[in-house]
């Protein structure tokens, strides 16, 4: 759906008085498979430390929709501290997961990590990482970040985020 169409649809839904800047409208939809939720949820619940992984899927340009089809857990680098507040992806693990995603006929469309001890809002480091990942992976297809908050409440919080340069 084009931005103009989406803007008109939003006006229909929310009322014509809604002030919509078409240049800043959401650039793409995201559809998430429950497999992704299951795997990320399971992974993020297993450790008190932060965990990390990549998301596989593909982007449909016509529909402007990002399909996230599978989650691929990665190993994190060994560290001496608790790792409650940050995590770094193991490079060997990242390479093998990249290969696995390609073998499945998918593309790397995102990354995820957990916030086991606090709200799943992106930190400055997360935003920097997202920027780096987008530069690395996000030139071909959109690239999103996912933060899973597991032990900050009785229920889980999933937060997807994405950054883009303003035109």
């Amino acid at each position: 759906m084009k931005r103009t169409e989406k803007a008109s649809k939003l006006r229909d839904e929310c009322g014509s008085s809604l002030n919509i800047d078409e240049a800043n409208i959401q650039p793409f939809d995201v559809r998430v498979s429950p497999d992704v939720s299951f795997m990320t949820d399971m992974h993020c619940h297993l450790s008190n430390s932060e965990v990390i992984g990549l998301l596989g899927g593909d982007y449909d340009e016509v529909e402007k929709c990002l399909y996230i089809q599978a989650a691929f857990p990665c190993k994190s680098t060994a560290r001496s501290d608790s790792g409650f507040t940050d995590v770094e992806m193991d490079s060997v693990s990242q390479l093998s997961v990249n290969e696995a995603i390609r073998r499945q006929g998918m593309k790397v469309v995102g990354w995820y990590h957990s916030h086991p001890k606090f709200q799943p809002d992106p930190s400055v480091t997360d935003i920097d990482n997202q920027n780096l990942y987008q530069n690395l992976y996000g030139r071909e297809v959109p690239f999103v970040g996912l933060i899973v908050g597991t032990y900050d409440g009785t229920s889980d919080l999933y937060l997807f985020f994405h950054i883009f340069s303003r035109l």
């Binding site: 450790s47 008190n48 449909d60 998918m106 809002d121």
Partner: protein, 503 residues
């Protein structure tokens, strides 16, 4: 080029007190949220501080982001040219690209550098995994099941092909035959193997046939009809109790549609803990289902196409692409079971769970009373156990995974069954599946504790406030505050005197 970023989630930074975002999840269910960022423009960067107090021009960029959970049966894991990862509408459309055409070149360069940096890391990790594998076999040998651990060979087969190794002594021959058969159907199995918990499973494979159906078969030497008598007896006794055991009341509660996932998860986790930790009879006879048995059960529940290749009579069946999920869960649990920061699933979390919601259901009085007495421990609210919380979260997702996408299938005994429950005692497949996943989790954690010599402690719910101690159990409580308060100084005093005397 340095990109300056500005957050546009104006809920957080908005001066309007009515729109302050607390960050807490307002619902009782897991929710998904959006967080969107954009680079700040040069001119707007300089004027942003001036506009901060008032309503900025950008405040209208607050559209609800479309975030949807898709139906799982839309995707298929297949390699080769005919990719069916996406719905038909997507496959028919031409996926175009953003801007960069040389991404592969860049990635290859980065990959090459990373490989150079970390080439020793993989060797070290492989050696570590091998060490874990060998030690796990040695320590598990005390169980009769592992006197002769069965080899599992896993590969892709074409539709209708199946091969079962019937004799433990003819492992190599059967493996060769199986490989020949698989090669005959244009499928090759790589030599590299994936080590699971006490089993060897060939994981890496390449499928070259375009029309072949993705299939996975587990060939188990000890499960054949002509296998050794001892193994046969052992497996039959194992699989007689293969299902996670629920009481009649628990079945009734689980099958009730009016109960919440939290209640359902509490019963699943209660049954798992009862089986893996609390059942003294099972422990005494060394018959607690190990993680290997549970994993086999999960793999054996795979259903491939029109034929049932499993030799076991299964209560529920999983589709072929569910092997990916099971494999992923197995790999994750295997990795984290020896992790220093792994979560203790048997402990209580800091969050309370309102068990009184059972009264709002349509359950019978007996079931409600059973739940309150046996599971909720007679408290109106109790601390949510970690395992229960995990089960509750996963139950939300697994119920949408369409594990039984086939409407009908034929069981190994050639009886057509309708999936989704033919009698009242049959649970939904996603509940059964989750039960097995949670069993696998608890079994891995239990075995890791046993190897490390750590006793599993099931966290007890706190006592009701206002209950007086001094009679019955409480009077014999060795850690009551009163006793602890008097003993500690005495012990310290004694040790102090001893030290002085020795000097």
């Amino acid at each position: 080029m340095m990109v300056r970023l500005i957050c546009i989630y104006s809920f957080i930074f908005s001066p309007d007190s009515n729109s302050i975002r607390s960050g807490a999840n307002p619902s009782s269910q897991s929710v998904m949220r959006w967080f969107h960022l954009r680079a700040k423009q040069e001119e707007s960067l300089t004027s942003s501080s001036r506009k901060r107090s008032g309503a900025s021009e950008n405040s209208d960029v607050q559209y609800p982001f479309m975030l949807q959970v898709t139906y799982r049966n839309a995707r298929k894991y297949q390699s080769g040219k005919n990719i069916e990862c996406f719905p038909c509408c997507i496959r028919q459309t031409k996926v175009s690209h953003f801007t960069c055409n040389n991404l592969d070149t860049d990635l290859l360069e980065i990959d090459k550098k990373k490989k150079e940096l970390a080439k020793d890391g993989s060797k070290t990790r492989f050696a570590h995994d091998m060490k874990l594998f060998s030690s796990s076999l040695g320590k598990m040998s005390k169980q009769s099941f592992f006197d002769s651990p069965p080899k599992l060979i896993c590969g892709f087969i074409s539709k209708g092909d199946s091969k079962v190794i019937t004799d433990e002594t003819s492992d190599s021959e059967a493996t060769r035959n199986a490989n020949t058969k698989i090669e005959g159907s244009c499928t090759t199995i790589c030599e590299s193997e994936y080590y699971t918990y006490g089993h060897i499973v060939s994981e890496k494979y390449q499928q070259t046939g375009s029309n072949q159906q993705l299939a996975l078969e587990i060939l188990q030497g000890a499960l054949g009809k002509e296998g050794s008598t001892r193994d046969q007896e052992h497996f039959s006794s194992t699989y007689d109790r293969g299902d996670l055991a629920y009481t009649r009341h628990e079945y009734e509660i689980l099958n009730d549609t009016s109960i919440s996932n939290d209640l359902r998860a509490s019963i699943i986790w209660h049954a798992v803990v009862r089986e893996q930790v609390l059942d003294k009879d099972l422990h005494r006879e060394n018959k607690v289902p190990s993680s290997s048995i549970i994993l086999e059960r999960l793999y054996n529940s795979m259903y491939f196409g029109d034929e049932v290749v499993s030799v076991l009579n299964r209560k529920y069946f999983l589709a072929d692409d569910d092997a990916v999920i099971v494999h992923g869960v197995d790999a994750m649990l295997h990795h984290y079971m020896n992790d220093a920061n792994k979560i203790d699933v048997f402990k209580c979390s800091n969050f309370s769970f309102d068990a009184s919601s059972i009264d709002a259901t349509t359950l019978s009085h007996n079931c409600r009373e059973y739940y309150k007495s046996a599971i909720a421990e007679a408290l109106p609210t109790f601390k949510l156990r970690i395992g229960q919380k995990i089960a509750s979260s996963l139950l939300t997702w697994v119920s949408h995974m369409h594990l039984n996408s086939h409407s009908r299938l034929r069981r190994p005994d050639h009886v057509d069954i309708a999936l989704g429950g033919v009698d009242t005692c049959e649970l939904s497949s996603h509940v059964e599946f989750l039960g097995d996943v949670m069993r696998l989790l608890a079994a891995r954690w239990r075995e890791a504790s046993e190897w490390n010599g750590v006793k599993i402690e099931i966290a007890r719910q706190p006592k009701k406030p206002g209950r007086k101690s001094g009679s019955g159990k409480d009077s014999n409580d060795p850690v009551s505050p009163k006793k602890r308060g008097t003993k500690r100084p005495a012990a310290q005093e004694k040790s102090g005197r001893t030290t002085k005397q020795s000097k």
